[in-house]
């Protein structure tokens, strides 16, 4: 549905995005993930026809976004990072203004506005000036603006930025509901957002795509490590604990704060397919120590993200 080919955008000397290519199928919910300044917003601005690429092209349903700009813009609903609203208009006026520009037939406007108000929870603020609204409500008005014409493609750029945790949950639920029926691109630097809503993740860093897959495959990716966090009571010889654990094949030991006196805390890192739990247990039992706690952590998407986007 959306095809991005060798897309490059330079601002002066700086390359914001560097020959990126990807495709998005209809119905996918794509999480476009990257640290701040990685090129997410630039890519979105090109897809939405705000500005052209320096080179490369974007096609939607086979139409070039630059040559068929107006047609493409009709298909897309876009919530930019800045949440563009007119503070002096009230919510109804604003959405009405968008409806006119979206060429919605007069007969459907009122009922559609009502749907938006219900879907986005705007009932209480319908007649308030946008300038008076809280950040959460403003974001919802922005979302309503993006979906009011029922677009095939929905692009949301950092939709939950600046919201409090409750509002974040609400907006995320709204996004999940919307994603059931649309092709959706969600730009964010917040990982839990992607894990919660997306069925595909693209990670972009310094203008290049560094990972592409479902959240599950990424998590289980090549970089996979697992970690055991242990607390061991070894009254006699605490130093021996780290030493003996280090002798386990494929284990890397790092000290961790102990919870109480006479206890050793450690973090044992091994490859993802190498489960050391049993060996650790036996080692501890044979040495006559006591295993107070053992917890396994498999690499989270967060680790993948940090691995991939760390400054080289």
């Amino acid at each position: 549905m959306i095809r991005v080919q060798d897309l490059t955008k330079t601002y002066g000397e700086q390359r914001a995005i560097d020959a990126i290519s990807f495709e998005i199928e209809a119905g996918e919910i794509l999480g476009f993930l990257g640290p701040n300044g990685a090129g997410k917003t630039t890519t979105m601005k090109i897809i939405t026809c705000f500005m052209p690429a320096t080179s490369g092209k974007v096609e939607i349903d086979g139409l070039d976004v630059f040559d068929h700009s107006l047609e493409i813009r009709r298909k897309i609903g876009y919530l930019p990072e800045t949440t563009p609203l007119y503070p002096e208009m009230n919510v109804t006026e604003y959405l009405g203004f968008i409806q006119v520009l979206r060429k919605m037939p007069q007969s459907r406007r009122r009922s559609r506005l009502q749907e938006m108000v219900e879907l986005c929870g705007l009932g209480e603020v319908m007649h308030k000036d946008i300038g008076e609204l809280s950040k959460g409500y403003r974001q919802r008005v922005g979302l309503a603006q993006a979906i009011i014409h029922d677009p095939e493609i929905l692009i949301l750029d950092e939709p939950t930025i600046g919201l409090d945790p409750n509002q974040v949950v609400e907006i995320r639920q709204l996004i999940s509901t919307l994603g059931e029926r649309k092709t959706l691109i969600l730009c964010t630097h917040i990982l839990s957002e992607v894990e919660a809503a997306c069925n595909r993740v693209l990670i972009i860093n310094r203008g290049k795509i560094v990972a592409d897959g479902t959240p599950q495959t990424l998590r289980a990716g090549l970089h996979g490590k697992q970690r055991l966090l242990v607390q061991i009571r070894a009254a006699a010889d605490p130093a021996a604990v780290t030493r003996k654990l280090g002798d386990l094949p494929g284990a890397e030991i790092a000290a961790r704060p102990a919870m109480e006196a006479g206890v050793v805390g450690a973090e044992i890192t091994s490859n993802k397919d190498q489960d050391l739990r049993e060996q650790v247990f036996r080692l501890v039992a044979d040495a006559g120590w006591v295993l107070l706690e053992m917890r396994r952590e498999i690499q989270s998407l967060e680790d993948v993200f940090r691995d991939l986007t760390r400054a080289a």
Binding site: L70, R73, Y78, E88, F97, I98, V100
Partner: protein, 238 residues
Amino acid sequence: MLTNTWAFTRRELKVYFNSPIAYIIIVLALVISGWLFFLDFFLAGQTTLRPLLTGWLPMVFLVFVPAITMRLIAEEKKSGTVELLVTLPVTDWEIVLGKYLASLALLGVTIVLTFSYIITVSLLGDPDGGAIFGQYAGLFLLGATYLAIGLFASGITANQIVAFLVAIVIIAAFFLVDKFTPFFPGPLASVLEFLGVNYHFENMARGVIDSRDLLYYLSMIFLFLFLAVRALESRKWK
């Protein structure tokens, strides 16, 4: 095309009239020009609107018009709403034209409000109707040209103050250019005179409506609206 343009015009008019901006600007323009006009109206003893329509109002417009236009595009750039506008299925011309028509309406209202002076002078004497019509037509076209310049100035910056000042500078250049003709050789002088707004305005103010003057104003308006569209499009320049 028309529905979109009209949607922008309506929105801008609402912004103007729902806030004190329009009222303050209009009242100031009328009070200042009216006061200057009546300072020596009774001393001169002539029932004519000429000093007002060809002297004071064009001068007041020099500041009045940029004050109307400065926010039109600059504010959208500043607040980021320009990103919304240009990603909606509307053309840049529709945006510029819609905003221009709104500012034109505001100018129209201001000019219509000075019609009361026609009644005043008619009661006091017997003014030349043809001249007054020409002066009003000229004044409207002059203002319309200034508005196009102001809209362009608003399009090149995200800062309203900059837009205001740039508009004043460009308008002043066209307003004053024919004052410098004595310093230039003949052919160049007449070119300068033709470029300036006053030359054409003077023709109309005498009650002579010549297609060349109309063409001058219309091409100035078109030129600056075109430049405003280009300024809005500048995001697309590679």
